[in-house]
Symmetry: C2
Subunit: 345 residues, 2 copies
């Protein structure tokens, strides 16, 4: 045995043990109130009960660490989606650059309306037109070029109401849920109706969720070579996977091979089947709906509360009734959240 060689290993082992000790202590302290931005009430309690039940080995509904999977919708669940999805704003902003490359689009709808700058007309564009704009502005570039462009945009674009970067508009209480679940061995995933490649640009920094755990509506990638002969993957102007309606949970189960134990969403159009399917699993399952009922601090919309049925992320009466009947958790942003954004505190 060569003692000289062993000493650095022992030192590094000692350092690792100390690091573990510090991490355990920090962890114990944070557990005192894992959700400090939440008011006490049934919503907060249901999340805490779920975590306690599924991580208690003596409980019959204990979930082994490897199976602890939680799935989150993004727009309207983790950050503001109203009045327009952030990614759509990015695509609209890109139309100018697109038309420079392809001038023939200038006089064609829906590009003509976007270029007119008429906000009311743009707001009226139907989903079909928005998809056309999305596919036109998000294709023909490599995955790296796309990510770099989104990154540049996010660094300068600001929300018109709060005058802040969009990444500031994430819900602090949901950030706490993400951290709380991860501190208890849950692996957290995003399943968005938007493009995974858009969300992945900031998901790690903003939510602590790495790209490989972000699923979205996906455009196929085409293998090819750039002018220097290097292999590249280029985004194609069509959809390979559509995370709309039941598609969100169909694709999640197909790609990740799991039924999550917990799911968080807000919209009847895209989250209903995901929440229903998760709740229908065996053992303890948590399905949570974020209800937008705070016109003062955020927005209030959705027919379930007799509020306007906006075009994005609406909570229908049918989904609300399903939530009540099946024992989902319904979050009232107004009543359950002490703070909505970190910058308000």
């Amino acid at each position: 045995m060569n003692l000289g060689r062993k000493v650095p290993k022992l030192l590094s082992a000692f350092a690792a043990v100390m690091l573990c000790a510090v991490s355990v202590a920090v962890h114990a302290h944070a557990q005192d109130d894992p959700l400090p931005s939440w008011n006490d009430g049934p919503a907060k309690q249901s999340i805490i009960d779920f975590v306690k039940t599924t991580t208690d080995e003596s409980n019959s509904r204990f979930v082994p660490p490897k199976e602890r999977i939680a799935e989150f919708d993004q727009d309207g669940t983790l950050w503001v989606e109203h009045p327009v999805y952030t990614q759509i704003l990015y695509c609209l902003d890109r139309v100018g650059a697109l038309v420079k490359e392809k001038p023939e689009l200038k006089d064609r709808e829906p590009f003509k309306t976007v270029l007119s700058g008429d906000r009311a007309a743009i707001a009226q564009l139907p989903p079909r037109d928005l998809f056309e704009i999305l596919l036109a502005t998000q294709s023909g570039m490599t995955v790296e070029e796309f990510a770099a462009d989104v990154k540049r945009w996010l660094a300068v674009a600001k929300d018109s109401r709060w005058n802040r970067p969009y990444t500031d508009l994430t819900y602090l209480p949901m950030q706490e849920v993400l951290n709380y679940l991860r501190a208890n061995g849950y692996k957290t995933f995003i399943a968005t109706g938007g493009s995974a490649g858009f969300v992945s640009v900031y998901s790690e920094q903003v939510y602590g969720i790495p790209p490989e755990q972000v699923a979205g509506t996906e455009q196929p990638l085409a293998y090819g070579y750039d002018k220097d002969g290097r292999p590249v993957l280029t985004k194609e102007p069509k959809f390979a996977l559509e995370n709309f309606g039941a598609g969100k949970i169909e694709n999640f189960a197909m790609i990740y091979g799991r039924r999550p134990y917990a799911a968080f969403g807000n919209s009847s159009s895209d989250d209903q089947q995901m929440l229903e399917y998760v709740k229908a699993g065996t053992g303890a399952r948590l399905s949570v709906v974020v209800m937008h009922d705070d016109a003062t601090r955020e927005y209030a919309y959705g027919p379930a509360q007799g509020l306007p049925d906006t075009k994005v992320g609406t909570l229908s009466q049918e989904m609300y009734d399903m939530a009540k009947k099946q024992g989902w958790t319904v979050i009232s942003m107004k009543n359950d959240w002490k703070h909505i954004f970190a910058f308000e505190k």
Copy 2:
């Protein structure tokens, strides 16, 4: 402060620290030779050099832990693929049950040939027929029913040459590579031409790779309800994602949003673009080809070594030349692997 409440926390903190200490010590020991089933040589050395380079913070090609992604083909790279892919054997075995449900298939090709039991004729079925059999035998059931059936089959099915369960036929040296990479912060993924739902049944137990890190040729899932009104996801008889040829890396990048730092494969038909793309990334990248040149301990096939061009997993001369030109690692099973299977030792 309530000391009574703090004591259990301190005890659990102490237990966690001790667990860390033990794990660090075990880890330090295993590092003495991380690849004991490998003979010394350039293949083994290239893997060790890659890991040392990318985990050394003082190295300009250091890779942050979160970006440490390694991708493995399965058939022919992690376990035996010759003479027939294991999943195809499963599908062939299921034809009997399928015909009981759908007697009209009995006299239709390719089902008729499979039912004849004529091994030579079955071995001659073209890929088109094999896909038809795969889709027919792997659809119409829920994801849970499929997984349960694969599990039952794997528990009893045996390879004809070694008379062992297929899960025994994994390559011990590759198991060591998986463990070595993970011990150094790499997240390991499988990208198979087969069905992820098939591989996921054993990937966690056999390779330490959880279902959410297994990508494959995917059949879409259809949301619906069973006779008791419970929501179910049913496998459809078509492909949503095809992991063949360039499709393997196209789909990997689309789903996981990452270019791996290391990739391992063996076949020109399905791994060539994956290995080329990985190697073309910036910084230190490792692309590895498993060459089947050991007729005694496993099989020898592939024109690159002047061996027969079998229908599955062939290494072409073109891919071999590309490997040499671009600095990929080529593993000679005969020369680089001290042991091939754990049961041989």
